[in-house]
C-alpha cells in the first residue's frame, strides 16, 4: 500500500490512491512521463498550424462581430453580431489565452504566442493569473487549505469546508459570479486570505490593483466607448446619406409640395438621436458578449473540479507525495465533460480537464488524442476516470452549491475504477485517425 494515503476519509469515501503500492505509483509516474515525452517529441508543423489557425480565426470572428454590430439597431444584426463577438471572446479567453499562458506553445519559441508575452481580454493581469492559476491551483490541486480554487474562498463546494452563515447566500452570489466571472477571477487573484493574514505586502497588492484597474479601463474603453462610438458614427453617417439621397430624389420631381415636404422631413432626421440609439445598442451587445463569455467560462471551469466524482486531499496525505502520486491526484481531482470536437474547442479543451491537469503545458489540441491512452492506464491500474455529459456535470455542481449552502452534507458516491471504453466518442476516433495519418506523412 502506498505510504501516506488514508484508505477512507471521515465520511467513508475510499481513496483510490491508497489501493496502489509505492511500486505501482512509481510505474504510473513513469508511464505518464513517457506519454508526455512522446507527445513533446512529436510536436511540430501541424500543432503550429493549429494554434496559428485558431488565432487567425478568432481575430477574424472578432472583426466580423464588430462589423455586424455597425448595424446594431437592426434586431437580426444585433443578435448575429453579439453571438459572433461572444464566440470570439470565448475562443480568446479559453482556447487561446488560458492555454498560451500555461506555456503550452512555448516550445515554438515564438515571440508573441508565448506564456511570457501574452496578454488576454479579461480583468486579470497575465502575471497575477499565472501565479494564482498556473502555480497555486495547478501545483496544489484539490488539497484542502492549499488550493484556493476550491470554492474560490467564497463558496462551500466541498463538505470538508466548515459551514458559515454567509454560505446561505451562496446560491445567490453563485448566479452573480456567473455574470461577472472575469472580475471575480481577478479579485480572487489578489488572494484576500494572504492579505488578511498580512502575508502579502501592501505594495504588491497596490501594484496588482493598479494592474486590474488598467485592464478594466482598457476593456471599458474598448467595449463600451470606442466600438459603440465607431458603430454609431458610421451608422449615423450612412443614415444621413440615405436620407439626403431620398429627399433629393423627391425634390427632382420639382413640385413645390415636395419641397415643402423635404423641409419638414429634413427636420425629422435627428442625427444625435440616431447616434445615441446605435451607441447604446452596440454597447448592450458588447456587454452581453462579455456576459455570455463569463457565464460559459464559469460553467466550464466549475465543471472541472466540482462535480461529485472528484476527490479532495488533506495536506498530511500529500506531505511526501512522489511524482506518481501527483499524477494520480491530478487525475482523480479533475473531471471531464464529454462533447463534440466543436464543444472542446469552444471550452478551450477544458472538457479534457483530466488531461489538462496531468499535463498543463501540453498543447490543448493534443488532449483529445491522448485521452484514450489515459483511460487505458486508468483501466489497468483500477483508477477512476471522471467524465460525463455537460448537463450532468454542471447539474451536480449546481446541486452541490445549493446543498452545501446549508450546514452538513456528505460527499456523494464516487464512480469507482473506469469500466468504460477507451474511446468514448466518434470525434475521438476521428482525431486518432487524423493523428496517425499526420504522423505517417511526416
Amino acid at each position: 500500500m502506498a505510504t501516506g494515503y488514508r484508505t477512507h476519509d471521515e465520511n467513508g469515501v475510499a481513496n483510490p490512491l491508497s489501493k496502489l503500492s509505492d511500486e505501482q505509483l512509481a510505474e504510473i509516474g513513469k508511464e505518464f512521463d513517457e506519454l508526455h515525452d512522446e507527445v513533446r517529441a512529436d510536436l511540430g508543423d501541424r500543432d503550429a498550424r493549429y494554434i496559428n489557425g485558431i488565432i487567425a480565426l478568432q481575430r477574424r470572428l472578432a472583426l466580423i462581430g464588430r462589423a455586424e454590430l455597425f448595424a446594431s439597431r437592426s434586431k437580426p444584426a444585433w443578435w448575429i453580431g453579439m453571438a459572433t463577438l461572444s464566440t470570439a471572446k470565448i475562443l480568446e479567453n479559453m482556447e487561446i489565452g488560458h492555454n498560451v499562458m500555461h506555456g503550452q506553445w512555448d516550445w515554438m519559441n515564438h515571440p508573441v504566442i508565448n506564456s511570457r508575452a501574452w496578454d488576454w481580454d479579461t480583468a486579470s493581469t497575465a502575471e497575477a493569473w499565472r501565479h494564482s492559476h498556473n502555480y497555486i491551483h495547478h501545483t496544489f490541486t484539490n488539497i484542502l487549505g492549499k488550493d484556493r480554487d476550491l470554492g474560490y474562498e467564497i463558496m462551500r463546494i466541498d463538505s470538508h469546508q466548515s459551514w458559515h452563515p454567509v454560505y446561505l447566500l451562496q446560491p445567490l452570489y453563485n448566479v452573480l459570479l456567473m455574470l461577472v466571472f472575469e472580475w471575480g477571477v481577478a479579485a480572487h487573484d489578489l488572494d484576500f486570505t494572504a492579505i488578511r493574514a498580512g502575508e502579502k505586502p501592501m505594495s504588491k497588492v497596490r501594484e496588482e490593483l493598479k494592474g486590474m484597474a488598467g485592464k478594466g479601463r482598457l476593456q471599458i474603453q474598448k467595449d463600451y466607448v470606442a466600438w459603440p462610438a465607431l458603430s454609431a458614427a458610421l451608422s449615423t453617417a450612412v443614415e444621413a446619406g440615405l436620407h439626403a439621397l431620398a429627399t433629393r430624389r423627391r425634390s427632382r420631381a420639382g413640385a413645390l409640395k415636395a419641397k415643402l415636404r423635404r423641409r419638414s422631413q429634413r427636420s425629422e432626421f435627428d442625427a444625435l438621436d440616431s447616434f445615441k440609439r446605435t451607441y447604446l445598442a452596440t454597447l448592450k451587445a458588447n456587454l452581453w458578449a462579455n456576459v455570455v463569455r463569463n457565464v460559459w467560462s464559469n460553467a466550464i471551469i466549475f465543471c472541472g473540479h466540482f462535480p461529485d466524482q472528484t476527490y479532495v486531499f488533506s495536506q498530511e496525505e500529500v506531505r511526501d507525495e512522489q511524482p506518481g502520486g501527483r499524477y494520480v491526484r491530478q487525475l482523480i481531482g479533475a473531471a471531464n465533460i464529454e462533447g463534440s470536437p466543436l464543444f472542446h474547442v469552444m471550452s478551450g479543451n477544458l472538457g479534457y480537464q483530466v488531461e489538462h491537469h496531468l499535463y498543463p503545458d501540453m498543447p490543448s489540441s493534443r488532449y483529445g488524442e491522448i485521452a484514450p491512452r489515459v483511460r487505458e492506464i486508468c483501466k489497468r491500474y483500477g483508477l477512476p476516470y471522471n467524465t460525463g455529459p455537460f448537463f450532468k456535470q454542471w447539474g451536480t455542481v449546481q446541486r452541490t452549491i445549493l446543498r452545501l449552502a446549508f450546514p452538513g452534507g456528505k460527499p456523494r458516491k464516487k464512480p469507482g475504477p473506469w469500466q468504460g471504453e477507451t474511446f468514448i466518442s466518434q470525434g475521438e476516433r476521428e482525431l486518432a485517425m487524423a493523428a496517425d495519418a499526420a504522423r505517417s506523412s511526416d
Binding site: D33, D37, L43, G44, D45, R46, D47, A48, R49, A56, R59, R60, L63, H102, G103, D106, W107, M108, N109, H110, P111, V112, N114, S115, R116, A117, D119, W120, D121, R130, H131, N134, Y135, H138, T139, K215, L218, Q219, Q221, K222, V225, A226, W227, L230, P360, D361
Partner: protein, 358 residues
C-alpha cells in the same frame, strides 16, 4: 521572452495612426489584425519575404529577402540574425549579409552553406521557397571596411568565409573603389567556390583586383607562409580574414610574428558550443535589464531572487531566455541550446557556460 525581430523603421504618421486605434484592439495591437492581410505589415518586428533562392554551388544558396519596411542599412561585412519557423519552432541564426548596402531594390541577401547536421541551413538551401516569411533581427558586427578606405587591401577567406567579404567587394565595385585589392580564397574545387563566377568576372573587369583561388583538392591547403609568394606586399596591406577558426588562429600567429597584427581584422563563425562534459554544470550569467550576476552555484544560492513557482517544470513562472550556451533538462537529461530559446530555470542546469536573461 523569446527572441524577436528588430523594431522596423515605420513612418511617423503610420506609427501615430496605429497608436490611435489601439483602443479598438487592446490587449492586442492593431498590427495583429493587419497581419491577417499581410504579415509584412506588422510593426511588432521587422519581417521579410523570400523573393528568390539561387543555388550558387551544390551546397550553398543565396536567399534574396525583401524587408517589409525600409531596410535600415548595414555596412558591408556585417551580419544579421534571421528567424525562420521550421517544424513549428522559430530558429534564429546569424548570417553575413552578402548583399551590398543600399541595393536599389531595397533587398538584402544571405548565402547559407549547407550544414548537413544543422536545422536552418538545410531548410534554407533545400526547402526554402519564394514567398516564405522570415523575421529579421538586428544588424551586428565590426568586420567592416574602415573609413576612409585604406589604399591597399588583402582579403583571405575559406569556404563560406567569403560571404562577408563578398558584400565588401560588391560595395567596392559599386563605389568603383576596387583599386588595389587581393583576395586569396580557399575552396575544395573550382566548383565549390561560392560566388566563383562573379569573383572571376570582377577580376576581369577590375585590373586593380587580383583573385587567387586555392583549390585545396589539387593545390593543398593555403598556409600563412604562402603569403610572401602569393602577395609579396602583404605586410603593407589592411587585411580582412574570414573562415574556420584554425585558419584564423594561424593567421593571427603569423601577423604577430611577422607584421603588425593591428592591421588584421577577422570574422569568426565558430558555434558557441559548451565543451564541458555532460552533467558537469558550468558558470551562469544571469542577465536582467540592469545587472549581470555571475554564478558558479545555482542562482538562488548565489543570492538571486529568481522568479519561481512549482519548481517542477509545470507552471512556467520561472522562464528565462537563453542568450548563449546550452542547458540540460534535469528531468530527462536532454541537452539543448537554441539562442533565444525560453528555458525554465527550475528544471534546467547549465552545460558549460551559459547566459540567461531573467
Amino acid at each position: 521572452m523569446a527572441e524577436t525581430g528588430a523594431k522596423p523603421k515605420v513612418p511617423k504618421l503610420q506609427r501615430a495612426a496605429l497608436r490611435a486605434v489601439r483602443a479598438f484592439s487592446t490587449p492586442l495591437l492593431p498590427d495583429d489584425y493587419l497581419e491577417l492581410i499581410n504579415p509584412l505589415w506588422s510593426t511588432r518586428e521587422l519581417r521579410g519575404r523570400i523573393e528568390r533562392i539561387d543555388h550558387v554551388t551544390h551546397d550553398a544558396s543565396t536567399v534574396l529577402i525583401k524587408p517589409g519596411y525600409r531596410w535600415e542599412g548595414h555596412e558591408a561585412g556585417q551580419y544579421c540574425r534571421i528567424g525562420v519557423d521550421i517544424r513549428g519552432v522559430r530558429h534564429w541564426r546569424a548570417y553575413s549579409l552578402t548583399s551590398e548596402p543600399d541595393r536599389p531594390d531595397g533587398c538584402i541577401s544571405i548565402t547559407p552553406k549547407l550544414v548537413e547536421s544543422g536545422v536552418v541551413s538545410p531548410y534554407l538551401v533545400r526547402h526554402g521557397r519564394p514567398g516564405a516569411i522570415v523575421s529579421l533581427g538586428g544588424v551586428e558586427g565590426d568586420f567592416v571596411l574602415p573609413d576612409p578606405l585604406p589604399e591597399k587591401l588583402l582579403f583571405i577567406s575559406a569556404g563560406s568565409g567569403i560571404t562577408p567579404i563578398m558584400s565588401m567587394l560588391r560595395s567596392l565595385c559599386r563605389r568603383d573603389r576596387l583599386d588595389d585589392a587581393v583576395l586569396i580564397h580557399s575552396a575544395r574545387t573550382p566548383d565549390d567556390v561560392i560566388f566563383g563566377g562573379e569573383l572571376r568576372h570582377i577580376a576581369r573587369c577590375f585590373p586593380g583586383f587580383e583573385l587567387h583561388e586555392q583549390h585545396t583538392s589539387t593545390m593543398g591547403r593555403f598556409a600563412a607562409e604562402h603569403l610572401d609568394e602569393l602577395c609579396p606586399d602583404w605586410r603593407e596591406r589592411e587585411a580582412f580574414a574570414s573562415g574556420p577558426g584554425d585558419m584564423l588562429d594561424a593567421l593571427t600567429e603569423h601577423w604577430e610574428r611577422e607584421a603588425d597584427v593591428e592591421r588584421l581584422c577577422m570574422e569568426r563563425f565558430q558555434p558557441k558550443l559548451g565543451t564541458a562534459e555532460v552533467g558537469e554544470g558550468g558558470r551562469i550569467n544571469f542577465v536582467s535589464r540592469d545587472c549581470v550576476v555571475e554564478a558558479d552555484v545555482c542562482g538562488e544560492e548565489a543570492g538571486l531572487e529568481l522568479p519561481f513557482g512549482c519548481r517542477e517544470g509545470i507552471c512556467h513562472t520561472c522562464v528565462g531566455t537563453l542568450r548563449t550556451g546550452r542547458v540540460r533538462d534535469l528531468r530527462n537529461g536532454q541537452v539543448c541550446g537554441q539562442d533565444g530559446q525560453s528555458v525554465r530555470t527550475c528544471i534546467n542546469a547549465p552545460e558549460g557556460p551559459v547566459e540567461i536573461e531573467v
